[in-house]
Symmetry: D2
Subunit: 507 residues, 4 copies
């Protein structure tokens, strides 16, 4: 007889049924290595599916209770361990139940579903968990940045464009811009969460089944916010847009983290000397004993490279006609799980690292004007005091800077005479600013304080922005709390349904 002995049941792909050979061991190994991450989600689906089948009268209460009782037993032994050992991957639940209860009972769990919805449900539940962790990490870092910004409204450093010193800003101003970016990251991740957290349960392999299942009920028990309205969409989205959106969002987030890691690395060099990075994020060299190698930030940058790679793997792997790529989802997931976990780790590092930076404030302040970064406002003064058109003022100061560079002079050396010389060269008239105005204009503290416009780096405006960003953060934290609450409630609902069924059957 081709029916297997229950005790050693090894799955439905048994030689002699549809196919005549065992699967190549290498293929079996490749498949097996990818499943562990999904097992907790599959376990929940197994339970919710049984509850729903019983409620829809597609499974007897007695059978349902027996199946659930066995799964509860498995929980005592450790879901991932037991399932990994029993094998069967997505079908490890069935495999365990048949071995434990025989095919007559265990063979009933898979009614009205397929590997299709098993993988969609478990991948989406897993992705949803990663997204939640990311949202939490993003929010925590936003809070760190907002808090730090309030402390650093007077910490002046040069802003850069084209890699060159441009104009002074403050650490508060810069870090608020990071908070603004992360605010958008949260919005993106949250939008994605809403699109991902839909249930494919019952969609089987694209058209569902002829059995009158209650897809809404399974979805509710698994914490999904909605049911995919179309079963083909429910299954195909995993080789489609949804499988691209998550890696896209993570890679966008990582791009910023890597940029900020680059900032920290630059700031920590001898050349910049802006900050000292705590030793626990640094290595040294086996030969150059003086080295502090900033390996922590470098890891963040490597993570971003993998994030881009992850998007490319998904995009390329899932190319092709509808229903053609299937296995390739696993290649996409494998790198996605890794990248998501690194991103969560790196968000945590930033939270810990930024407050621990030793900041060389005096040097940063000097750099913010000694390389000419405040001279824009000298032109401003020519406009305000002398009513010159902006462009004329700009050109005159441009000439002044050139004259200074040619004469090896710095901003502190600009005199009324030199400015007059530049203005004469420009349009045959002196500039007419006095030394006091010039000197005051070039001070970075004044430069910052004058920028009270909306979005500017002046202290009061930075504090206003911090309040705005914190308000948004509080709202976003509430969104995460709401999700947490809904997931906890649905998990409780599932356990209660199992309890009720077992109780009714006297288990």
């Amino acid at each position: 007889m081709l029916k297997q002995d229950s005790a050693t049941y090894r799955g439905f792909r048994n030689p002699g049924i549809r196919l005549t050979e065992d699967l190549s061991p290498q293929l079996a190994a490749a498949y097996g290595s990818r499943i562990p991450t999904l097992l907790p989600a599959i376990h929940a689906f197994d339970k919710a599916h049984i509850v729903m089948l019983v409620e829809c009268s597609l499974l007897s209460r007695a059978h349902g209770a027996a199946l659930l009782r066995a799964l509860r037993t498995m929980e005592g032994e450790g879901v991932v361990q037991v399932r990994s050992k029993v094998g069967g991957g997505l079908h490890s639940g069935e495999q365990y139940l048949i071995r434990k209860l025989g095919e007559e009972i265990g063979g009933r769990i898979h009614l009205a579903r397929s590997s299709g919805d098993l993988s969609s449900v478990s991948m989406n539940v897993t992705q949803r968990g990663k997204l939640l962790e990311l949202m939490r990490g993003v929010n925590a870092l936003r809070r760190t940045l907002i808090d730090l910004s309030r402390q650093h409204t007077g910490t002046i450093l040069p802003g850069y464009s084209f890699g060159q010193q441009a104009q002074p800003m403050t650490l508060a101003h810069l870090w608020l811009s990071w908070a603004a970016t992360l605010e958008r990251d949260f919005e993106r991740l949250h939008g994605t969460y809403g699109r991902i957290n839909r249930s494919a349960a019952g969609a089987a392999i694209m058209v569902g089944s002829e059995f009158p299942v209650d897809r809404k009920r399974t979805a509710e028990l698994l914490g999904f916010d909605a049911v995919h309205e179309n079963c083909a969409d429910a299954i195909l989205e995993l080789t489609n847009d949804d499988s691209l959106e998550v890696p896209a969002m993570v890679s966008i987030l990582y791009h910023s983290l890597a940029k900020w890691a680059d900032d920290l690395i630059n700031w920590s060099t001898s050349e910049y000397s802006f900050v000292d990075i705590p030793d626990r994020y640094c290595g040294t060299s086996s030969i150059m004993m003086q080295k502090k190698n900033v390996v922590g930030p470098a890891e963040v940058k490597g993570g971003a490279a993998e994030a881009l790679g992850g998007f490319v793997v998904a995009y390329h792997g899932l190319k092709g006609p509808t229903g053609m790529p299937v296995t390739e989802r696993y290649h996409a997931c494998e790198i996605l799980w890794k990248v998501s976990d690194s991103a969560v780790r790196d968000l945590a590092w930033f939270q810990e690292l930024l407050p621990a930076l030793v900041i060389n404030k005096p040097h940063m302040r000097e750099q913010s004007w000694r390389g000419w970064a405040t001279v824009t406002d000298l032109a401003g003064a020519l406009v305000t005091v002398c009513d010159l058109p902006w462009r004329s003022a700009h050109q005159i100061v441009g000439i002044a800077v050139r004259l200074c560079e040619e004469r090896d002079l710095g901003p502190a050396d600009i005199t009324p005479a030199l400015l007059d010389e530049a203005a004469q060269l420009y349009h045959g008239k002196p500039a007419g600013l006095d030394q006091d105005t010039i000197s005051r204009t070039l001070e970075p503290e004044r430069f910052i304080a004058a920028r009270i416009l909306q979005g500017g780096p002046a202290k009061e405006e930075s504090l206003r922005q911090a309040d705005v960003f914190e308000g948004n953060l509080v709202a976003h934290e509430a969104l995460v709390a709401g999700i947490d609450g809904r997931l906890a409630a649905s998990a409780a609902k599932l356990e209660a349904a199992v309890d009720a069924l077992l109780a009714a059957e006297g288990a």
Copy 2:
């Protein structure tokens, strides 16, 4: 004198001011080639900025009127043409105005802004326009798909997984899944639009300026929904998340379009023979005169490849510390504009092509069961009629299929005896289904009709889904209409403000 003659004014980067040499002609050419797309947006910014400066008393009414009058004159001659000819790229407005009105007046336009906000504003306005076109195209295709679905609830074809015939579905069911994907595309694009459509005007090069500009006013005149709360964020987002989000969204959309193009190409082959693609989308061969080369769908696939390339260009080009990549934005934009335009074109093609397909319904229907795609339900019948556990039923039918394949039999050849033989082989008992049940079970029409579950392909359920998707579509069309309305209102507000200013000055 270093001040230029107004009539031949060639911009602020004139040798003798800050720098001593002309820019390399190749660099000038590279820069120049990228600006034309941005010119309409820059023109609007020029006008809005002048209005705001006057309203904030940073520019006299007389000067403001003169500048606006000149820009109105330029409009009569063609904004893009005049600006392209006068040169200066982002600063073509200033260049034109100085040539026309002299530096004393024309030199006043650039007060309190920078190339930074000029590029951010113009790139975001341009991106916003592309996003709007894409949203419109997505919605139009959704409507096409929903309409077609209502006509094709009875058009049966095989669904595929792993590229193999899996189970029957209908064109309605498949196309509704496409509509579901596009619904998410709309959501994504709309979410992106909201994040993109914020104003950097007045943010200058990251810290704004000391002049008391009204950033909200400029934003309102340019149709922005909000002002970036932080000026550094306003400028840096262009080398940051926002510059990645748009190409990511377009590439995700294109991935689906390319997948559907692959479907159409497959369906049009001799092997599938499902559809005939109208000749206008096809080429023929210079040597194989029988060929119908489906070049239209192939273009869509090439477009998707460029879309992925576009994301990679942006991601890689914009890597690096804050403020380091600047020029690289242009490389990212250049391919993005191209890809966006192709996507808009391809969305339109699909709308036109799908209703024009000549569909070989009888052949598709036959293919949906002759390759065993309906046998799942034979197992279902064993469960329902004989109360077998699903797994036992599944294995018995699996054996039956193998026996048939070995004997060169097809689904129409399955008899009660053969099924009994398979069941005997499996567990030593006959199956017990009669011929009528078997034959009926294998009919694809029955297969479809039985799937009335939520998300299933049964006619009534497909029609229900079509209604749901149409409801969502109507809501999304209203969102687009709302955007259109707001943009039109702000454009009108800008013109009204210009009119008012000109009228007051008796222009």
Copy 3:
């Protein structure tokens, strides 16, 4: 005292020396996870370095012998296991030796080298091993293809362009084209091998050291073909071109493998029905018991996606100024090792799978002309028999095909009358071919047999090509054998040098 107790020596990055804190455990874990692959190569370098130091009188013979003796002892216990356990990564040799022999002796191994050359040497040796495996796999598959081609010169199938049936070819012809591609892959891999297999040993961290080491000697003992002429190049190439060339070559190879996997998948569908893929490469479905899911070829396609991702990870991760990316090499290597191993596996699968295909020859033969794929030669006949210009002949037959399609006729239905009708429509004159000519012309066997031109699919020409490709293969196999020989000789030389040193010291 800050000097550590030898027995528990934990490496040179000990708090209290240069840095004051332990490395973050997460960073330590990330680093540690990447090293095992490199350990065999590091072990060899450790030995060769000691030999060279002694020979250059930079280390006493007694110390050298003690160190080598200890490393020999380690070999008995398992190099990877012992080194993984003792920790220290690249420096696990030193760590082991200090624990075993004390710092006074063990602390002498690292003279005149650095983590820089340790990582360059070990990564290059590891890459060289992967390249060799790939070259071997490529050659083995070439042999399979050439052998199979000789058997399939008469196995006719349609060739495709634009996914549509184009003209008949043979399996021999197609598989010889695969062999031609793999011939180039070999050339590429071999070229890369030559550039990779150069020694960085002694280059330290870019400028070498002041100790008079003999870099040629170390290189010789490690099987390198040459020494990097410039020490900066030796170290930097790992974040430079060499780190991109290997993933580029592997991804190019994988692109072809994936394309051929796509061919196999298509051929195995109901629609094509060209081949049956052995069951061991297939899965089935938990719900659709008829399914043969071609998971083996799908894995190949997923591997190609990872290969592209791997190139992107390397390219992006290694961006930045000279000497900036360092850690990121490990991210690049991690995915490269994985992808290389998959490619080796997939090359082996193809070798096994292709001869095991069950080929449906009659159906393939029918498909090669029933969809018009032979009509090109009808135009050829018009040229030859009637001296029509090619273009006129082409157009006449094009019209004939259209007429047939409109009348639901196939190629077998073409009559002289129909051809005359088409010719009349074209230029008012009949075509004048007789039925016999028409029928013979359309036969695929004749079509193939007529193509005796260089590169054509006629049997004799295919056999000639097979001989040419085999000749090249034999030459390439000799290249691999040469490499094998050189590597074996250098390994023997290293052991002999160790033996000699130990013997001299009476060990």
Copy 4:
């Protein structure tokens, strides 16, 4: 009659032949925009094909002469212009000839070829041209670097790892490493050239034709080094490995150029102050008049991003079963041509820019030791003078550096007492170096001079390397000259064959 009037002949894809509708204008436009680059190569193929047809008696001498005469006339008017105007893309030759000579003669050119070999030949000839330009550019930059290196053996600067100052090197040493990289780039490009420069002429659409063409002759007239041995390979390589190898090679080259551009950008910042970049490569700011924006190097970095994008476009676009992607080649080519041209431009910029750098030698020299970069050799001195094990010496100096950092001391402040203190802390014994030894050891000039090992930065060794690299360069220049010679000879052969044919026919 369906035969077109010759005077207005619009190509073989005329409605009424095989297809009934005109091609969509958008598709026609997309196709048309891609062809101009290929036209010169197509023109040569047209001529060589005619010559070969005549020589093989597949075309009468009279017809051949008439066709060639017309093509010569076209040359007088400008090949690209005439062909662009006459339309037909790959078939513009035929289109022109039919219009000029009527279908009876003009319609004979396309015998025995197809769009397949037309595109393969023209794309390969175009790629070969790009590769040649790149090889030339690479060699020219190598020469510049070698020459500059000879001048800068004494120009000391810090080398960097992890972005931190590591050890001193010289500009000569660094630039020689660049030359070494470019040497490998040359080898790669040259290897690719050899694989690309094979002829597909006569391969038609994969199986050639039944006409006895002489593929070797056409290949010879077009400057190909060989004929593809297999016609399927000849056509398919364009959607296969060859279409990936060229973008891979260009992107690898560009990665290095971008890295060096990053170096130049860093060096030009206030923080580094190593060099001043000539003004012609720089922009300034419309608001920050002091800015020197290094837009030239930034363009190089943007080019590298496009190069990576180009590889991804090719890889993704060409995915799919054999013969499926066709049109997608054009998407791959379009970005490849652009990227190749940018790379040629950027190679030229580097040649011009590097000798024009204004180098701040004293500052670079100071930076090469003031940040501890020479202390490695202090440990070396402890080894040499005191016979300490390397690791002990390394740890002692590591402690010394920490003590200095804690006490705000620099390398110039290291005294025997401080070193003794560190040694005492380490192992309870003094170090015992005298001040003179310490001071001399820390001098960067001595540091460099001591590194006479193979590959080291000592002057004599740098000069030796320069000689080695120049020797290789000379050999590579000879390879390019050889290619130039062969191409010129084959072009002459083609013209001579045309002349002979025209002469014989009295033209």
